[in-house]
Symmetry: C2
Subunit: 219 residues, 2 copies
């Protein structure tokens, strides 16, 4: 089994979404005082590589702990838009992959923006889904859509319309993915298992691509 | 693919290890004010169903982010000690399973204690590994050992000797597992992927058992 980590490291100087704060780690127990080391972790529910629950945008949407566990793992493929060079991923960019999209449970939109992680460019000018493209994708039988940017909407979006289109169909959104260049299989298993926090509007995750060589590929 | 959740829900009234505190969730962003909902999560690194890094007990031990990602997923089996009725799981309790243990990367010690989760009994009288049994297990090629109790040492242990024996060999410890009765396969894939926090001495995890029916069992 080959496992590829698609996750940014969580630390106190990491980039975070506007109007939220970076995580704070505080050593709470020490080898010397308590005989063991523990750390108190404080972070927002959408820190780093994370998933959005329908509840994130929709007051009556499901929280992550209300969805079935098998919603967080499944057959996946990467669609490469790193040479797209325009503001929106549109229907005609996606429709050429429609047979591929129909075969999988997750798609990952690769924009190439993860290379700007930690720089101001990360928050600027990244491609996002057009409204029409989001409506097109919601008709497939997808568990989730991942992207290597800070948001699947524009950074200055106030209506979060792409989020709402997808989340209203219980299609999970995975943001801030990284290391997509290291996936060299057309199909693989994506795991985005969230923490099991009560009423979760989102969760940081350890996103991984899994290729099960021992038992055949998923092609 | 069949996925079985082995994880307790994280919430503000959950049981936690003595000398640590339960998690605190605070809604930080609201649909009304910000157009989206987020929550600030504060919790100890060993809250709920979680894994221990070598660093948890050993000041020079590895943190989770220093270990290879494939250390957190692998072939597993459950050893049932729920009818053991004694204080320690000893070498002769384990040695009858030695061929099975040699075939897997993770073993889960089922004591049955998860049924007491949320009650004072959860902290009392649970079976733990004897020192000799820990030394016996460290000679196998294991990535980790899971258990459905609050600790793999006694609750009043001050030396955490079983932890130290296993962690000194980089054998991860998974504590507070639950729902083990629902695993009905002899062998399965265990996933205990941690958050990718910097210098992690441990991490809450979404522990799951995975059975890949499509591509054959792992028996």
């Amino acid at each position: 089994m080959k496992v590829i980590d698609l996750t940014h490291t969580i630390h106190s100087n990491m980039p975070v979404f506007p109007k939220t704060e970076p995580p704070v780690f505080k050593v709470s127990n020490t080898h010397k005082k308590d005989g063991f080391m523990e750390t108190k972790l404080s972070m927002y529910s959408h820190t780093g590589t994370h998933i959005d629950a329908p509840r994130h945008m929709l007051s009556k949407g499901s929280s992550l702990d209300e969805l079935s566990i098998d919603r967080y793992i499944g057959k996946s493929t990467v669609l490469d838009f790193s040479k797209l060079d325009k503001e929106y991923i549109e229907i005609n960019d996606l429709s050429k992959y429609k047979e591929k999209i129909a075969k999988v449970e997750f798609i990952i939109l690769k924009t190439g923006w993860s290379k700007y992680w930690g720089e101001k460019e990360y928050f600027l000018d990244f491609p996002s889904l057009s409204i029409e493209a989001a409506n097109y994708l919601k008709e497939f039988n997808l568990k989730g859509i991942g992207i290597d940017t800070i948001s699947i909407d524009k950074i200055d979006s106030e209506s979060f319309v792409v989020h709402k289109i997808l989340l209203s169909k219980d299609i999970l959104i995975i943001e801030n993915l990284t290391n997509l260049d290291n996936i060299n299989s057309e199909y693989f298993i994506l795991s985005i298992l969230p923490l099991k926090t009560l009423d979760a509007d989102g969760s940081p995750v350890r996103a991984v691509a899994i290729k099960n060589k021992e038992h055949g590929s998923f092609k």
